[in-house]
Amino acid sequence: MLTVNSINCGIVIDHITAGNGIKIFEKLKLDEVNFPVVLLINVPSSKLGKKDIIKIENKIDVDITMLGLIDPEITVNIIENDKIVKKMNTVIPKEVQGLFKCKNPRCVSNFDEYVTPKFRLVKANGKIHYRCNYCEELTSYSI
């Protein structure tokens, strides 16, 4: 079994559905940083079978809403002095602002630079969609 030293001070993004780790790694632009980051993939998990984990040796600002949008199974642990000082569960956000664009090419939010796209969560046929505040079209988010 591969072992990786635990981090002293930073963030652990845990319970990432296997396969999503690399996508989140890229989304957070962790390939561009100058502090230690570890991406573990296919780690055995009792909850998920297999999971991915990202360990970041620095306290960066992680957008919990965005992580919930990508994968609501994710938990985020804040580490200080080798101890977990805060545990956060992500949730599927009910409202999203500015994290993605409306897929309707005729929507005003795709033309007016001043507009922040705004969406509200809609569940239809077990699928998660976001309804645009402006044109009301549904957009499903995927990374």
């Binding site: 309707n104 005729r106 929507c107 005003v108 939010s109 033309f111 007016d112 630079e113 001043y114 507009v115 239809a124 645009c132 505040n133 402006y134 044109c135 009301e136 079209e137």
Partner: protein, 313 residues
């Protein structure tokens, strides 16, 4: 809740009681129009037409002028400097100090909603791309109410392009709030009402829906027949177009099987979906419908402005 200061972006922005308030006032305005000739004196309607739509613009201007108000605006953003590179938010923040109520038509869907977030005065959506055109819906509802006496227990047929026609989508969704509404949907298979709309109607309102390809099959059971145009390019192939095109044209011959008091409606302009020989029939009310559009806009503007509508009657 009063309508004063509110926006109209989507027909669902107003409750059934609020819609009734608009229709009741519109009825009074039809009966004695001159009594309302001064109620908007000193008020200005801004007409922000980012794409030309002469018919809609004139109907709003006429409505305001008939109440003694004034109008200002532009009718084509291409020839005016107002929109060049400026965000809608900035334009609206400035223009909302020039008028007391505004109507906006815009080719981009959701633009009037965006405007309403920055406007200090009521915004009326005068049509945003293929999305909404709420004053058309209000016009259609007022027409049915005036001619049938009620919006309840009507069998309303929509004929033509039910897939892309926004007037149809808005009107169906508005009418589904009224009890006893029955919808008959007449269209070629490829131009049927979108599935998501149909299922939300069935789930939320428990209305009855009957779909058919043939107008002749159902014409004798209909209270209101709402005709729309089918554009040739919407058909998947030429053979279907040739086979079906005449089935969606209403003429005197098809009309003879219909109820005596059926209403034939159309949002206008028509091309060939209603033949001219129908115009003289008493069931044909599409020109009256266009006229009622002025009254519904008058009532809407007066209520959004909160002017005194009782002063003269």
């Amino acid at each position: 809740m009063s309508l004063k200061g509110r926006h109209l972006i989507d027909p669902n922005d107003f409750t059934m009681e609020e819609l009734n308030e608009i229709f009741n006032l519109a009825d009074r305005m039809v009966e004695e129009r001159d009594a309302f000739g001064e109620i908007c004196k000193g008020k200005i309607l801004g007409t922000l037409f980012y794409e030309p739509s002469t018919r809609t613009r004139l109907s709003f201007e006429s409505a305001m002028l008939r109440m003694g108000g004034k109008v200002l605006g532009f009718s084509d953003a291409g020839t005016s400097s107002v929109s060049k590179g400026e965000s809608i938010a900035d334009t609206i923040r400035v223009l909302s100090s020039y008028a007391d109520v505004m109507v906006m038509r815009h080719p981009k869907e959701g633009a009037p909603k965006l405007a309403s977030e920055y406007s200090f005065i009521p915004v009326i959506n005068g049509g945003d791309g293929g999305h909404q055109h709420p004053t058309q819906t209000l016009t259609d509802m007022l027409t049915i109410r005036r001619y049938k006496g009620t919006l309840e227990n009507q069998t309303i047929a929509f004929c033509g392009d039910l897939k892309f026609g926004r007037t149809v989508h808005s009107l169906i969704s508005a009418l589904s709030n009224y009890k006893g509404s029955k919808f008959v949907l007449i269209s070629p298979a490829e131009l049927r009402l979108p599935g998501h709309l149909k299922s939300s109607l069935l789930e939320k309102h428990n209305v009855s829906i009957y779909e058919t390809e043939s107008l002749e099959e159902v014409i004798n059971q209909i209270d209101v027949l709402y005709m729309t145009r089918i554009q040739k390019e919407r058909f998947f192939n030429e053979a279907d177009y040739m086979r079906l095109k005449d089935s969606y044209i209403l003429d005197r011959h098809k009309l003879k099987d219909s109820k005596e008091d059926m209403l034939v409606m159309h949002p206008l302009p028509r091309v060939n979906e209603i033949s001219y020989d129908v115009d003289d029939d008493k069931r044909a009310i599409y020109f009256k419908q266009a006229e009622l559009g002025i009254y519904v806009r008058m009532a809407l503007i007066a209520l959004l402005l909160g002017v005194n509508v009782n002063a003269y009657s």
